[in-house]
Amino acid sequence: MDQFTLNLLFVGASFALYIGIAIWARAGSTSEFYAAGRGVHPVTNGMATAADWMSAASFISMAGLIAFTGYDNSSFLMGWTGGYVLLALLLAPYLRKFGKFTVSEFIGDRFYSPTARLVAVICLLVASITYVIGQMQGVGIAFGRFLEIDAFWGLLLGSCVVFAYAVFGGMKGVTYTQVAQYCVLITAYTIPAVFISLQLTGNPIPALGLFGEHTASGESLLVKLDQIVTDLGFKEYTAAHGSTINMVLFTLSLMIGTAGLPHVIMRFFTVPKVSDARWSAGWTLVFIALLYLTAPAVGAMARLNISDLMWPNGTNGEAVSVEQIENDPEYAWMATWQKTGLLDWEDKNGDGKIQYYNDQNADLQAKAEANGWEGNELTKFNRDILVLANPEIANLPGWVIGLVAAGGLAAALSTAAGLLLAISSAVSHDLLKGQLTPNMSEKNELLAARLSMAAAIVVAVLLGLNPPGFAAQTVALAFGLAAASIFPALMMGIFSTRINNSGAVAGMLAGLVVTLLYIFLHKGWFFVPGTNSFTDADPLLGPIKSTSFGAIGALVNFTVAYFVSKATKETPQEIKDLVESVRIPRGSGAAIEDH
């Protein structure tokens, strides 16, 4: 059986499984649509949240970004896990006690203001749609590869699949499907990593193999990797090269953003008790950590394998020949990926060999001239293909490649579905039913929910045609937006009785606007290329890149909220009582439908 058929088989089988589960657990009522009837066990909920959480950014994109940058991109690892500590300690149990369906409902009630609820809905929509753009990028790449078509057509096809899939059920259908998706994606991520770790280090656990010995050379894997990449003129893998301030702010933005993303927070409304919300956050992180502890190993080992393939005779020997790339089955993956337009090479000096090195490095100029090299000839290597191409690069069996394709799609689909659910509940539940047409029937509310999903996909695809970065970087922008707007409002709502309606509204707006402005100034207005005034290589404020600005936006939010609240009327007593009651687990009941 050829690889194309195998991929189709794996992807097709996994899709049949998800759709089967979605039909079996179809949502009947609005309560089931949004919160799965609150009957989900913490471990089950943790697994579903992990699938919801680990998107195309974690699965497809992250290891590639670590592989080509090394230590400096550790921010993704710390940021996307550390946020769960904030979630478990500062938000989840209290929001569960409050007992409503959506994040904006909490903000609207706590700040006793329909305006606050409306602003929360806007913040939530901006962050979620940016996030969906990143997912669509991942879906496009995965579909492009396994159908062997251009990534653009992959994107269009993928968006149709995501839509068909997300409208099937609400939270209930999604919860159980996501448990299945978690199993598919973690198996697909781990199996190739175990194979590669065995090949390179003899250790079956990739997380340990990363710090183990490279069998072929007898040196530590990381020492060997540092040596190879510096030989080729790239920066040392394990050393810090970027600004410390930027790295701290970037990590912090990702952490706060994690705790401010509506589709993750919504998950904690679905557990039966307040104490379960605390455990659930822990279980979620257990399931996430299984992938996140493996990811740095995947990145480092793939970087080593790629360098070895390009320089089969060592970094001082002859480079790989064009003939070998075209005929040797070990290099067949390069031709398949070339079709997606995400990988390319060119024999610039016509010597029949492909030299892969850093042609921007002045130290390598002498060596390049002496050998007649005329620039790096591996001209394109999109970071986002690394994880999907990894089993092929390591020459693993065909079924592993099919499995990884299915896993990548599972990751992108589960998150896209969760986000669409958050978007649709914001529009139909908070905006339409909560504000504009309170008398809407349950049937019409479900219809509005589905229509808003469709609209969200269209907007995401349109904006996704000019993605502002690799998938994980686009997603990082979404985190910055959530960090600057939602998280501070939620936290102040629980931990302070002084912050009043005007303070919260002013804070959220200030945080959202400055962050969005900073992003558009660097990435272009609505991500249209060429409309940016600054670049992330030379940012407006010192070393602070647009992806790291979320933490500053959150600070602006807190500060504005504090001073505006001080200058305006005090919070009424009944709201202070509400805050007191949210802080105490006793008396948490089922969810209250307040419309």
Partner: protein
Amino acid sequence: MSQNDDNNAYWSANMRLIKISLIIWALVSFGFGIILRPMLAGIKIGGTDLGFWFAQQGSILCFLALIFFYAWRMNTLDREHGVDEE
């Protein structure tokens, strides 16, 4: 002691626990993983230094321990102060 005083005691015990946990949270990630990494450079582990390990794996393991510790401690506090869910 009235229920109200007890609730206040519960909340301040919770705040103390949150503060301690967040200090550890920041120390293992921003501290050992980023800012203090040069100071830990002398401690070698698997071909690199301890700071690199904290940035790529150690911090994640500490986060896990923190969340489960907090959940366990809070459930005990809930019962001690009589505010647990019946």
